[in-house]
């Protein structure tokens, strides 16, 4: 290895080294934790913005559901939808699915980060692990909701009129759902370290949850076993408020409301929308807490 010659001084002609800038790093405080959360969050946004391909590919699945399934099954279902187009009916469900799968990919980025070593850079920083996890989850949630906003732009194609309340409401619900799904994904990522297994597990859990949630069918008068699964599926409590919100903006008959957006019931009790939303939020918080505990305990 003697072919490596080590210059004892700077090479001739090289520019003089710039003056040293000594940096002072203050002790840890809530302020430094906030900075850490913010930069981890921003990194997710920067990466999302750079990854145009992902924005486009993530649109394919919701668009298939909305226009292919929605238009294709229109004739079959026309008799029972009380004049509401099937596309309009499944639109709230599609708003949810787009967020769910984007959030899943956001959470997957933590598995990539581990694989490519970047997770280590974050884990050795003099900040709490919880700040890293919170930044990651918020970042994933923000990215997923931004993806959801693209679908919101399609409301007119399914005859949903815009209003300020609708746009803000949909965005808030998407943010909430995205937060919970990302928290779930990050929780899973703490344990499952290979990308293939992670995506496999996520697909295995999230896809059934989506189908059972009632995103594509009304939740009243389901067979007993499906009704049971539907009620224990957390996604149900994100889809139902979303549909209620969209339907509140539609000019349709009371029968249509009753048939297509029946209230969610627990043993005959109508679950208030606020409680439904709270359920999703509470589950998200629990999973975030587990994710933080998992990452704090690890090396």
């Amino acid at each position: 290895m003697s072919d490596a010659t080590i210059p004892a001084t700077a090479a001739p002609g090289a520019p003089a080294p710039p003056p040293t800038v000594a940096v002072h790093v203050p002790p840890r405080s809530w302020r430094s934790e906030l900075r850490a959360i913010k930069i981890v969050w921003r990194r997710e946004l920067i990466r999302f913005q750079k990854d145009r391909m992902r924005i486009v590919t993530a649109l394919v699945q919701p668009l298939l559901f909305l226009f292919v399934l929605g238009s294709g099954l229109q004739q079959l279902s026309a008799a029972s939808t009380h004049g509401v187009e099937l596309k309009t009916f499944i639109y709230p469900g599609v708003l949810c699915i787009s967020v769910m799968f984007t959030a899943m990919f956001s959470a997957a980025s933590i598995v990539w980060d581990r694989e490519f070593g970047f997770l280590r850079e974050m884990m050795v920083a003099p900040v709490r692990r919880s700040s890293i996890v919170v930044g990651k989850v918020f970042g994933g949630a923000t990215v997923a909701s931004l993806q959801g906003v693209i679908l919101l732009a399609l409301a007119w194609t399914v005859h949903v009129p815009y209003s300020v309340g609708l746009v803000l409401g949909v965005f808030a619900l998407q943010l909430l759902l995205a937060f919970s799904i990302t928290a779930f994904g990050v929780m899973v990522a703490a344990r499952i370290k290979q990308m293939q297994s992670f995506m496999g597990v996520m697909q295995m859990i999230v896809t059934p949850m989506f189908f059972i949630s009632g995103a594509l069918f009304p939740t009243a008068e389901l067979p007993g076993w499906l009704a049971f699964l539907n009620r224990i599926d957390p996604i149900t409590y994100a889809v139902a408020p979303m549909r209620t919100l969209i339907f509140a903006n539609l000019d349709i008959s009371a029968e249509a409301h009753q048939a297509l957006n029946p209230p969610i019931t627990w043993f005959g009790w109508d679950v208030p929308v606020a409680l439904q939303i709270f359920t999703v939020f509470a589950l998200g918080m629990v999973m975030l807490a587990i994710a933080i505990a998992e990452f704090s305990a690890g090396e």
């Binding site: 072919d3 490596a4 710039p18 430094s32 850490a36 930069i39 490519f116 850079e121 003099p126 900040v127």
Partner: protein, 328 residues
């Protein structure tokens, strides 16, 4: 006396039954370039991980930049820079974004981020490439960027784990250039592991670690001196007679290897004139070599660093096998 940059007392680390680090003691003064040498599996990485707060010591204690690695983890982390063997950059971000992210995570004062970034990027020659995505960088550029990043928060101690492994000679040379420059321009202590013996020569002091223990600690020159013997190789017209005469007249044991007679002797420079004067066999060429760190390693561990690595790998496999069998 100022506090040492690193102070380690009776540090142990066990993984189950396996004792990876068996009680090491050493001190590193501020401003030193301290080399940690040994084959893979000698306990180097475990030791460095304990000093960087990535692994908790089983017993004993260690202070880095004046803070205890077990009880003041974040204080240690604020004062150290880390460059790992495996890269830890975000390839989708630009060089500048990677550094900025680091500065934010370490809480570097906002006003200092820009000038410091320019300084460290200029030092490693990547200032012009600051807006390029790291994905487009070569292996050497990435390593240089990691070094720049490790320096962003002006650490008191910079840990370099095999900083030159897998790099071309030119990049290796420039990395050593940065280390020299840093020593002059900042009050920084550099702690590095390597298993390139020729690079260990550039360290102020080195530790040789083997089987979880420190077997030697001194300056490279002193370590080599302690080995004592220089090696002389001569080409002669009659090797057999030369060997016989060397044994007879000087009491030296010589062997033939690669077509030359080779033997070890103290003070080789003074011995060569005597050799010419007293040996009756015509000598065609002579080659005198000083002991290298390879010889130092050999004298302390009884094996070359390459062989040590092979046997360490075998031991590891055996340990894994035993662990698997034992669990059943």
């Amino acid at each position: 006396m100022p506090t040492p940059a690193i102070s380690v007392k009776d540090l142990h680390k066990s993984f189950g039954d396996f004792e990876a680090v068996k009680g090491v003691d050493f001190e590193v003064a501020t401003g030193e370039v301290f080399g940690f040498l040994g084959p893979n599996g000698a306990g180097k990485t475990t030791t460095i991980n304990m000093l960087c707060t990535l692994t908790r010591p089983t017993s004993g204690n260690a202070e880095v930049a004046g803070f205890d690695v077990a009880t003041a983890r974040d204080d240690v982390r604020r004062h150290i820079g880390l460059v790992f063997q495996d890269q830890t950059l975000d390839g989708y971000l630009s060089a500048e974004q990677n550094l900025r992210l680091h500065a934010e995570l370490y809480g570097v004062e906002k006003a200092a981020v820009k000038p410091r970034m320019e300084q460290v990027l200029r030092m490693v020659g990547l200032w012009e490439r600051r807006d390029s995505q790291v994905l487009t960088f070569s292996g050497g550029m990435r390593r240089r960027l990691e070094i720049a990043r490790g320096l962003m928060h002006s650490p008191r101690v910079l840990f370099l784990d095999e900083p030159t492994i897998g790099l071309d000679p030119q990049t290796r040379a420039s990395i050593w250039g940065y280390i020299r420059q840093l020593q002059r321009s900042e009050e920084i202590t550099i702690f590095m592991t390597t298993h390139y013996m020729d690079e260990a020569e550039f360290c102020g002091r080195i530790v040789i670690m083997d089987h979880g223990e420190i077997v030697a600690l001194d300056t490279p020159a002193a370590l080599k001196e302690a080995v004592g013997a220089d090696r002389i190789r001569i080409e002669t017209d009659d090797d057999e007679r030369a060997i016989a005469e060397l044994a007879e007249r000087f009491g030296l044991e010589a062997t033939v290897s690669e077509g030359a007679v080779s033997f070890a002797v103290a003070d080789g420079e003074e011995f060569v004139p005597r050799l010419f004067a007293e040996l009756d066999v015509p000598i065609r060429s002579v080659n005198l070599s000083r002991p290298t760190l390879d010889d130092v390693f050999m004298s302390h561990t009884g094996t070359t660093i390459r062989d040590a690595e092979e046997s360490a790998a075998k031991n590891r496999n055996r340990a894994v096998m035993q662990a698997m069998v034992g669990r059943r």
